[in-house]
């Protein structure tokens, strides 16, 4: 494999603790190495440029059934933005729900090399894997959803952690999944009857279990297995004014639980897109509760979060939170797709326009940024848009700009129609913190890699890590306008993925060597769980047990992470 020496760049790497010093980065045989290990490298001159590890996205909806519903039911999302293929690039199209091919290329252009699909309905795992297979360059994994799964509901009703863990291990293997995802615990099952669970004590119809029991039980089962990632959570009551109390109640369920993982993570719960869960007030008196939320996060080490920043775009919302999408279509009267999945989960898709002229949307924009600016430890607070829910992922560089520049935030405030009311309902206007590139690298590289239990592969430039390196046209030591940040981070000059140069001088140079990550957790033999699985497939599923497991050829280049949970 080729050797590369990236010379004289301003390096930002939280793993090595380098904060913009000029340094060289060496890549050999797909890994970062000491510069002395190179013999005849290709030299990349990074003088005056910013060098970081490849970006890691911990939460985005980029592959699978609901993403494809979004693509197929929104031809307007492709209007005037389809591009022809050229060279090794294939045709591309779509803005908020781009084709898989554009997804891979656009992430690469931003310097990202690893992207986790945030919600995989187990019955649709094949579909998710087929799309990931057709997404070039990126390393990907997918989180199967567990929070409304009938096995889980039945086991956790009686707090059967060992059985839940055995089932999780089985399902991760059957679906080639990466982590335990929970979406509106209990609420999506209730949506099977058109109902919802609005707080952590609202019982699930028929199953007679509360969301609190599901959340706590799944954290415990996750730690029982010692999986690389923690339980990954989307709490009840998303998007409702006053919901921050539900969010805090959900956070508190992790108290007293210690991580049990050999993969270096420190959290037992990752709460995703917290912006949507930090609302105070009620109805039209909707306000930011980001300070209350961040007070909790900052003082509790066993939690990580990601932001879910609103980017003020027209986008396509999609979530396994079925009742929420119904609520949304009632609100904006745009088209609504729903896809409930037998015994497992549900989902909905609704287009949404976040407008700077809308007070509520402007408040949401403030809250996302407030969370980021109130973070005391950027290693535990990650930059996301819950793509495409709060905005498309290609806006990450714009969020970096807002987080890094008060001037950029002020410009946006001035563009709000209801500026005064927005300022009154939020705290952002009074914040003068500007994040550094080092903190951005924590939020987009080292932090998410650590939380995923992948700090042995991604997130930094220490020798031994994967050769994922991005070089940006950005000189932090010269004066710059806020927009320069966005421009530079949207269009990496060079990108290396596992030691292969996939972007050269801003152009796609290779389709890379994409891998699919999944976790093979080996638990003790559990005859009861196997009997329950057989019975449920025989009686309630519409596919047979033997036709459920995703077989190898769906994953062209798998990377299996082995976990031994036998005792």
């Amino acid at each position: 494999m080729a050797e590369f020496l990236i010379k004289n760049g301003f390096v930002f790497d939280p793993v090595l603790g380098i904060k913009g010093d000029v340094a060289d980065v060496a890549i050999k045989d797909g890994k970062i190495v000491e510069t002395s290990a190179l013999r005849s490298p290709k030299v990349i001159d990074a003088t005056g440029k910013t060098v970081m590890a490849g970006g890691v996205d911990i939460h985005a909806h980029v592959a699978g059934p609901k993403v494809n519903i979004g693509r197929n039911f929104r031809p307007e999302d492709k209007l005037f933005n389809c591009t022809a293929g050229h060279g090794i690039e294939r045709m591309q199209g779509g803005f908020s729900v781009p084709t898989t091919i554009r997804t891979g290329y656009n992430y690469a252009h931003m310097g990202y090399t690893t992207v986790m699909e945030a919600a995989m309905p187990p019955l649709y795992a094949r579909h998710t894997h087929e799309e990931m297979r057709d997404t070039p360059i990126l390393d990907q994994g997918a989180y199967p959803v567990f929070g409304n799964n009938w096995f889980v509901l039945e086991y956790l009703k009686n707090h059967e952690i060992e059985n839940t863990a055995a089932y999780i291990a089985w399902l991760l293997r059957a679906t080639k999944g990466y982590a335990v995802k929970v979406v509106n615990p209990g609420g999506t099952e209730a949506w099977g009857w058109g109902l919802n669970c609005e707080n952590v004590h609202d019982p699930v119809p028929y199953f007679d279990i509360t969301p609190a029991q599901i959340i706590k039980g799944l954290i415990e089962a996750n730690e029982y297995l010692g999986l690389p990632h923690s339980m990954h959570m989307h709490a009840n009551n998303l998007g409702t004014p006053g919901n921050y109390t539900t969010t805090l109640d959900s956070f508190k369920l992790s108290e007293g639980i210690k991580p049990n993982s050999k993969f270096g993570r420190a959290q037992v719960m990752h709460h995703t897109h917290v912006q949507f869960h930090s609302y105070g007030g009620e109805g039209f008196n909707f306000e930011s509760k980001a300070p209350e939320i961040m007070d909790y996060v900052n003082t509790h080490d066993n939690i990580t979060i990601d932001l879910g920043c609103v980017t003020l775009d027209e986008t396509t919302t999609m979530t396994a939170d079925g009742p929420f999408e119904h609520h949304l279509t009632e609100l904006n009267h745009l088209k609504w797709a729903n896809a409930d999945v037998e015994l497992e989960t549900g989902s909905g898709v609704v287009p949404f326009v976040y407008s700077a002229n809308n007070k509520a949307n402007a408040i949401q924009w403030c809250i996302g940024l407030e969370l980021g600016l109130l973070a005391k430890d950027p290693m535990r607070v990650f930059l996301t848009t819950d793509h495409p829910n709060a905005g498309p992922f290609i806006r990450y560089p714009r969020i970096m700009k807002w987080l890094m520049s008060q001037e950029a935030r002020d410009q946006q405030f001035d563009a709000f129609k209801h500026k005064d009311k927005v300022i009154e309902a939020t705290n952002l206007a009074g914040m003068d913190r500007e994040l550094s590139l080092y903190e951005i690298a924590q939020m987009t590289r080292a932090g998410p890699a650590k939380a995923l239990g992948l700090s042995h592969m991604y997130g930094g430039l220490a020798p031994g890590l994967d050769g994922d390196v991005a070089v940006y046209d950005f000189n932090p030591n010269e004066p710059y306008a806020p927009d320069d940040i966005e421009k530079a981070f949207l269009n990496a000059k060079h990108l290396f993925k596992s030691g292969v140069q996939v972007i050269s001088d801003h152009e796609i140079a290779s389709n890379g060597n994409k891998r699919t990550l999944w976790v093979n957790a080996r638990a003790n033999e559990n005859p009861q769980v196997m009997r329950d699985i057989k019975e449920k497939f025989l009686r309630y599923y519409t596919v047979t047990l033997n036709n459920y497991e995703v077989t190898g050829h769906y994953l062209r280049n798998p990377h299996v992470i082995e976990v031994d949970a036998t005792q």
Binding site: G194, T329, E342, N546, N547
Partner: protein
């Protein structure tokens, strides 16, 4: 000795039953018996064993007779035809696996083809309606486990999807539906007294072409507003009764078929059927699902969805993907002489397109890839027989509720026969050579 292969997936209709058992000879060459399948599905498996099956590509001679050619020659002819054409039509894609669809899409991209699938004459109107209004739907297991109100509109599963009713919709006993069919109210809307209608609690024999009015009347009835005495030939008392039946259920499901997608009103019928479903969600839980025909027409819409962003009628001739049904749909293209070559795989337009379109196929350079001899093979210049997907080769297929299932290989194809994917992969390589990429 024989052996039995279990959990076999039936590659016939969108019901995609996956519980078939197939008895094969010990050497895996002969398929002897098929269990659990419907009559059509069983026939599909057994038909592959026909002794007079075509096993090598053939080319039409000037006198109209066939001449056997090699796969190499067929690959070359197909690649040349596609590469030389300015705007070839690549149609079908519904009776094959997603792997072949994916390679086909790459060929289409390389040659600037129009990619269209059988939805164009089937549920394409449903796909358009979904783009207008969305679709609240679910998997078939949700129907089995929850539904107590089942409405079939313009479809006749008793004949078209024979095991649908026993596996998913009327008869099964699910988790919350332990009483099976006795716990379900079945409503059929069809101008004809079909075999499905004979199973219904209520059969609304709507006048032909008045589906839109009747669906609209249901929306009026849900709201308790006034109706005229008759709508579409149905007395208003009956409409109020049906509306009340649907609203009073715990979970209502509407299945619809070509009786509404391809009759007067087309996508507008589906539009309002989906609006009816949305309305019902104000009162209870409701879902709606198209009864997709071919076993993997859904899959081709999915593959093109993630590769191009559109589920059918994808025009790649300008170098990027365009979608404009009515312009980029097969029959419109053929009848306006806008395509200069036709490639068919996994469908039989010769049997299902209007005669005026079939004549155009006859006049153009044309290749059909199909295990069977069909009306399409009768009008094409080259016929390439291939292995049966789901019988002689596995691969992914999407059920009518979009659930992907991997079909199985149960017997070997006759010696020397190629699969769809192998043939297309060869064509793609040859196209790239010809195009110099």
């Amino acid at each position: 000795m024989t052996r039995t292969v279990t959990d076999v997936i039936c590659p016939f209709c969108g019901t995609l039953c996956d519980d078939l058992e197939v008895v094969v000879s010990d050497d895996g060459k002969d398929l002897l018996e098929v269990y659990n399948a419907c009559a059509i599905g069983a026939e599909k498996f057994l038909h592959s064993q026909a002794k007079d099956r075509i096993t090598r590509p053939r080319m039409r001679q000037e006198d109209g007779s066939w001449k056997e050619i090699s796969y190499d020659e067929a690959v070359n002819y197909t690649a040349r035809m596609l590469a030389d054409a300015k705007k070839p039509l690549m149609y079908g894609w519904s009776s094959t696996n997603c792997e072949a669809q994916s390679v086909g899409a790459e060929i289409g991209e390389a040659v600037g083809a129009v990619m269209d699938n059988t939805a164009t004459v089937c549920h394409g109107t449903s796909l358009i309606a979904v783009q207008d209004i969305g679709i609240p739907s679910c998997t078939l297991g949700e129907v089995k486990n929850r539904a107590d109100r089942v409405l079939f509109w313009g479809c006749n599963p008793a004949h078209a999807h024979p095991r649908h009713m026993s596996r998913y919709s009327i008869f099964p006993r699910g988790f919350f539906t332990g009483k099976g069919h006795t716990g379900r109210k079945v409503i059929v809307v069809d101008p004809r007294p079909t075999d499905t209608a004979s199973l219904a609690d209520i059969h609304l024999q709507v006048e032909q072409g008045h589906d839109y009015e009747l669906l609209d009347a249901l929306r009026v009835a849900f709201r308790g507003e006034k109706l005229p005495d008759f709508v579409g030939g149905i007395p208003k008392a009956k409409i109020y009764e049906v509306a009340e039946t649907l609203k009073s259920g715990r979970f209502a499901i509407i299945f619809f078929g070509m009786g509404v997608t391809q009759s007067i009103g087309k996508n507008h019928n589906i539009d309002i059927a989906i609006a009816v479903t949305r309305d019902l969600n104000e009162y209870t839980k409701a879902a709606i699902m198209p009864m997709r025909g071919h076993y993997n027409v859904t899959g081709s819409g999915q593959v093109w969805g993630w590769q191009f962003g559109f589920p059918f009628a994808v025009d790649l001739s300008r170098g990027f993907a365009r979608y404009n049904p009515g312009e980029t749909t097969s029959n419109d293209l053929l009848r306006r002489d806008e395509v200069d070559a036709v490639f068919v795989l996994g469908s039989d337009p010769g049997a299902h397109f209007p005669f005026s379109s079939v004549k155009k196929i006859y006049d153009l350079p044309s290749v059909v890839i199909d295990p069977h001899e069909t009306p399409t093979s009768e009008v094409c210049k080259v016929h390439v027989p291939v292995a049966f997907v789901g019988v002689e080769i596995g691969g992914c297929a999407y059920r009518m509720d979009n659930v992907p299932i991997e079909t199985r290989k149960v017997v070997d194809a006759p010696e020397g026969m190629m699969t769809d994917e192998e043939f297309l992969t060869r064509v793609l390589a040859r196209v790239k050579e010809l195009k110099g990429v």
